[in-house]
Subunit: 65 residues, 2 copies
DNA sequence: ACAAAGTGTAATATATATATTGCATAGAAT
DNA sequence: ATTCTATGCAATATATATATTACACTTTGT
């Protein structure tokens, strides 16, 4: 699997996993696993992450086709 | 809470809760609770629902602001 | 060389999404 | 009136998202 859009966007924003985790109130591990595609996060968390990164759900989690 | 976009879209498509549930392989109850905003579904299920309804995540689950 | 920060990973515990079963009600069709 | 479909709701069971703690490795800065 390619690098996730969450990871790319987080790095573009200059945030660490820990900082993003604190912004959305989860642990660093949860962010790490989502970035690696090993988790199936809940909608609420996806929305929180998108807002924290100034993106939308489609920007981060949608793939055409 | 207003009627969810999932419910509106499902009805526009002429589907029952049971039919949509079968399309995305969950139970009728799960669809019903998501439509009523009483569940926090997983990303995978949101994606499955969006594809089943020919919509995107943003169409069904994103709210501006 | 060393310390510190960032990240991947793993084991166990906890919270919660989802399944299962069942009942109640309303509306449509007959 | 009665049957059937669609939906809301509730109790309990199961699967899994997430937390917690801990360790290893790499990179950067000093």
């Amino acid at each position: 699997m390619a690098v996730s859009k969450v990871k790319i966007t987080r790095i573009e924003k200059g945030l660490t996993q820990l900082e993003l985790a604190q912004l959305v109130q989860v642990t660093r591990q949860t962010i790490g696993l989502i970035e690696l595609g090993k988790y199936n996060p809940t909608l609420k968390l996806c929305i929180d992450i998108a807002r924290a990164l100034d993106k939308t759900l489609d920007d981060l989690f949608w793939e055409e086709e």
